[in-house]
């Protein structure tokens, strides 16, 4: 028993700081000499714990902090370098995290958002799991389900909207069932939302304005509720204004209006155009909802086989449906920035190691004067934390600026960007990252300091690093360089993809064209009136100075929608299943010329293609090649659409392929109908100019107003803008990753350069001796560079190995480049090896110029 008690005291005495440990044991030995029971000895534990804690007293901590501040102030270059590295690393990581926090983590700004579910039809026949919903199917779901509190449907649309006496503007107006706001559970800021009776015509002519539209178009007038406005030329009453935070389902919603539920809708199962969002009952799960709706859909399949064959349902939490494809690239970006932070930490740890090696004498002196190891350890940790807290504070400034600009730049194409801001979660993240960072990079030198051999260090402080510390630094440089290789390879792949996308010829002019969407008013209800308007418009626009061509099309490439239709070829064998589907657009004469789409065979669209003349069609090369592989398509007759009685259309020409879905999509078989034979109301105007397209905007608006002031022109953009908007997400991802890659590389090179410089400085005496004994300066250079490359080459190999494994995760960001593209890998490796060589060569050159005499004398 006495032995046990004594051993216990010996063990807990390890807790007591070194300086007090001997006395602590002596006192407790005395205690045990009087009463050697274990119960007595147990008191040693709180005693030792007290002594241990006392070391962390606030006053002592402040003393450490003051000491650290003095030390750091004495080395401004080192301090600034460390702070800059940390601020950049922590700032970039926090900025990316704040985006992820806003887009992926923060709940949607609706009450109980987890209960909101998006529902689609699942078209199993055509493998389209997220298909818009037919009205009658929606009505079945809404009436028959047992799992949803509310199930609302909506469709987005738009029309000119005008306050009395004001110019009409194009308003994005969401048409929604009357239970839409109840489903979202959002109350209006002013007035009210839809009443149930407003789903029945003619009482449906009411509007709820969005906050943005209320501010910008109605001067934030609180008296707007109750006012009558012109919407699509019909009078509508404004009944409410929604709060700023509510913009569902699209960011630039101007207003919501109730869907008029006509008797025809209750039987409509063939036309699919509704989006559906539901709120689950508090007790229901999404799986129960799935089974529930599937039961209803199965009944409809049996009851309406013509329209509902193999049509099921698809459910997804609303948050997931909104974020969609943004998740992957975002997490990748986070991984990239995390890697950058790691490199930053390693770099700082390295700097600190070099510093601490230089401070070994100081440490040894303090140890000799009675500081215990723990005290030295703590001093270094405090120093690290101080640096990381200051770096983190600076990083927060960078993050705030970065978050703001990211949110602004990406608002148009990343969902929920308006929710991105620095909130408490982001601040907590930044604080945690800073503290962890501080601990990480302070630990290596702090542990090294704990191993201080006082006598050795006091004697030999002038003489370079202990082997272990040098190995540690080598390991850090290895990690850093390998991580940089991974990041730079990733960045290079993304860069190459962007270059590939940007250099694809899309098949149409990407400069010198002005585009604008034309929105006709209700007056244009007959084909002849519509045609006359566009004939007049094109005539006026073509007469404007600087205009070399103009045309209209129903769906602009890249930005516009895309229609498809079944293609039936005259006298061709009937295909077994459904007829093939081809792209289908309506365009006017002059459109091909304005967009510089070449006519390869036959002719393009002409003014002579009028409603009464021969029904014709122009096809693209992809269509001609696929369906007329052995001869010319010109002269053949085809039918578009499902109607077997529709007239045959004669193909009169073949035009070049157009990548309508953007440069990264393959051109699809496509047909163009003359707009005068296939009349669409709203079209997009394309104007080819000799000068800057923007300079024509007011002249084109004037031309429209000259014909009919009730016609609105909106989305007026140059074709560059259209292309830019399409490429913007890819460009942003590229710029960010390239930026991270460049920073990572710079840091890693700084790391290897620092280590080599330090090694050289350490080895000056040795090099001096070598030179004095007749070594060749070239040999010295080779020696030093060889040392550096022995560090760099394994890191390069490891980096490449890791990159081979992880770049496939970045496939979503790549285009026409394999994730293991050998050319990219080789280029990156050779370039990094070259710069690493340069980073080693500079210290090597310094080494070879050492004056042997000075070096030896310095000993």
């Amino acid at each position: 028993m006495p032995d046990l008690a004594r051993r216990f005291v010996a063990i807990v005495s390890r807790l007591a700081p070194g300086a007090a440990r001997r006395e602590f044991r002596a006192e407790w030995e005395a205690e045990l000499a009087t009463d050697p029971t274990f119960a007595r000895a147990a008191g040693a534990l709180p005693d030792a714990w007290f002594l241990f804690r006392q070391q962390w007293s606030f006053a002592m901590l402040m003393q450490d902090v003051r000491y650290a501040v003095r030390l750091l102030a004495r080395r401004p270059a080192y301090t600034a370098l460390v702070l800059l590295t940390l601020a950049l690393g922590i700032g970039a990581t926090t900025a990316v995290f704040s985006v992820i926090n806003g887009v992926l983590i923060r709940p949607l700004p609706f009450p109980a958002p987890a209960r909101l579910v998006t529902v689609w039809e699942n078209d199993r026949l055509n493998l389209k799991p997220r298909y818009p919903v037919a009205p009658a199917n929606y009505q079945d779901w809404r009436a028959g389900n047992h799992t949803f509190e509310q199930l609302a449907a909506y469709v987005d649309g738009g029309a000119p909207l005008a306050a009395p006496g004001a110019e009409p503007f194009h308003a994005n107006v969401v048409v929604a069932t009357t239970n839409f706001f109840e489903t979202m559970q959002v109350a209006p800021l002013l007035g009210r939302t839809f009443g149930e009776a407003e789903g029945v015509p003619p009482r449906h002519r009411v509007l709820v304005l969005s906050f943005a539209a209320w501010q910008s178009r109605f001067g934030a007038d609180p008296g707007v509720v109750g006012r009558t406005v012109q919407f699509g030329e019909m009078p509508y009453q404004v009944i409410g204004v929604m709060p700023r935070t509510f913009t569902f389902p699209i960011r630039d919603t101007d207003a919501w209006r109730p869907m008029a539920w006509t008797p025809a809708m209750t039987t409509q199962r063939a036309q699919h155009f509704l989006a559906v969002v539901g709120r689950l009952r508090p007790t229901a799960t999404i799986d129960e909802a799935r089974r529930d709706l599937e039961t209803i859909a199965a009944a409809a399949q049996r009851a309406y086989p013509a329209t509902n064959d193999q049509r099921g349902t698809t459910q997804l939490p609303l948050a997931e449906a909104i974020v969609g494809d943004a998740r992957r690239p975002m997490l990748l970006l986070f991984a990239a920035v995390g890697l950058l932070l790691l490199i930053g930490i390693v770099n700082v740890a390295n700097l600190m190691l070099v510093e601490s090696a230089a401070r070994r004498r100081e440490m040894a002196l303090r140890a000799a004067l009675g500081a215990d190891r723990f005290r030295l350890f703590r001093q270094l940790v405090v120093e690290g934390l101080l640096l990381s807290v200051c770096g983190g504070a600076a990083g927060l400034l960078i993050a705030a600026a970065g978050t703001r600009s990211l949110a602004r730049i990406a608002a148009d194409y990343v969902p929920r960007m308006q929710d991105v801001r620095m909130d408490a979660g982001v601040l907590a993240f930044a604080a945690a990252v800073s503290l962890l960072t501080g601990l990480c990079f302070a630990l290596a030198p702090a542990l090294a300091a704990c191993r201080t051999d006082v006598q050795h260090d006091l004697r030999e402080a002038g003489r370079g690093t202990v082997g272990r510390s040098r190995r540690l630094r080598g390991a850090l440089v290895f990690v850093e360089l390998a991580a940089a290789v991974v990041l730079v390879i990733g960045a290079a792949l993304v860069l190459k993809s962007f270059w590939r996308v940007a250099s694809v010829a899309p098949g149409f002019a990407t400069t010198g064209v002005l585009t604008a969407d034309v929105e006709l008013s209700r007056r244009y209800d007959k084909d002849a009136i519509v045609n006359q308007f566009y004939v007049d418009l094109l005539e006026r626009v073509r007469a404007l100075p600087g205009v070399t061509g103009a045309g209209i099309v129903n769906n602009l490439p890249v930005g516009g929608g895309a229609w498809t239709a079944w293609l039936t070829i005259e006298n061709a064998p009937k295909p077994a299943g459904e007829p093939p589907e081809v792209g289908y657009r309506a365009a006017s004469p002059g459109y091909f010329a304005a967009m510089q789409i070449p006519v390869l065979e036959g002719r393009g669209l002409a003014e002579s293609d009028q409603p009464g003349s021969l029904p014709i069609l122009v096809v693209n090369r992809a269509l001609a090649r696929r369906f007329f592989p052995n001869g010319s398509a010109v002269g053949a007759r085809v039918r578009l659409g499902p109607n077997p009685k529709a007239p045959w259309l004669t193909i009169v020409g073949v035009v070049g392929d157009i990548r309508h879905g953007g440069p990264e999509t393959e051109p699809l078989p496509e047909a163009f109908r003359p707009t005068y034979q296939d009349v669409n109301g709203d079209m997009t105007l394309t104007v080819r100019t000799t000068g800057a397209p923007e300079s024509l905007v007011s002249a084109v608006r004037g031309a429209v107003r000259g014909i009919d002031p009730s016609v609105t022109l909106w989305r007026v953009r140059t074709i560059e803008d259209v292309m830019d908007e399409h490429l913007a997400p890819r460009r942003l991802a590229m710029l960010l990753i390239a930026g991270f890659g460049a920073l990572a590389l710079a840091l890693a090179l700084l790391g290897i350069y620092g280590v080599m410089s330090y090694t050289v400085a350490e080895r000056v005496p040795e090099i001096g001796v070598r030179l004095a004994l007749g070594a060749d300066p070239r040999g010295i250079r080779r020696l030093i560079v060889g040392d550096g490359m022995r560090l760099a080459i394994p890191a390069l190999i490891a980096g490449v190995a890791v990159a081979l494994g992880v770049t496939r995760l970045a496939r979503a960001l790549l285009f026409d480049v394999s994730p293991t593209d050998p050319a990219t890998f080789a280029t990156v490796v050779v370039s990094i090896a070259a710069v690493a060589l340069a980073a080693c060569y500079l210290p090597a050159r310094r080494a070879s110029r050492v004056d042997p005499l000075t070096a030896i004398r310095a000993e």
């Binding site: 006395e23 002596a26 006192e27 030995e29 005395a30 205690e31 000499a33 009087t34 009463d35 007595r40 147990a42 008191g43 040693a44 534990l45 709180p46 005693d47 714990w49 007290f50 002594l51 006392q54």
Partner: protein, 100 residues
């Protein structure tokens, strides 16, 4: 003047009464050693008590390890007076009472 806890005040009281080393203080106050020692450390760091090791010679003669003796300082006496006022029932637990 820093606040002294009830156990610390008891310990101070015992030392003022002439009880001089850890084991004895624990015995006379009835406090656990795990309370007495941290209290002693704290009182010493506050400057209320000071300690000295008895000479090795005495310890050897008595065939036991050397003891650490504590004595109260002037500041400690003031602190004890303030503590007494705060914990008025201190007298009832004064040294020796437990064994009386």
């Amino acid at each position: 003047m820093p606040y002294t806890t009830y156990p610390s005040t008891l310990v101070l009281h015992a030392i003022a009464d002439g009880v001089r080393y850890g084991f004895d203080i624990a015995d006379r106050t009835g406090l656990q050693t795990g309370t007495v020692y941290p209290a002693l450390r704290r009182l010493e760091s506050l400057g209320y008590v000071r300690s000295s090791w008895e000479s090795e010679r005495i310890a050897r003669r008595e065939q036991r390890p050397a003891r650490r003796y504590y004595e109260i300082t002037r500041a400690g006496t003031d602190a004890l007076a303030a503590g007494r006022k705060r914990f008025e029932n201190l007298g009832r637990l004064s040294p020796g009472q437990r064994h009386a």
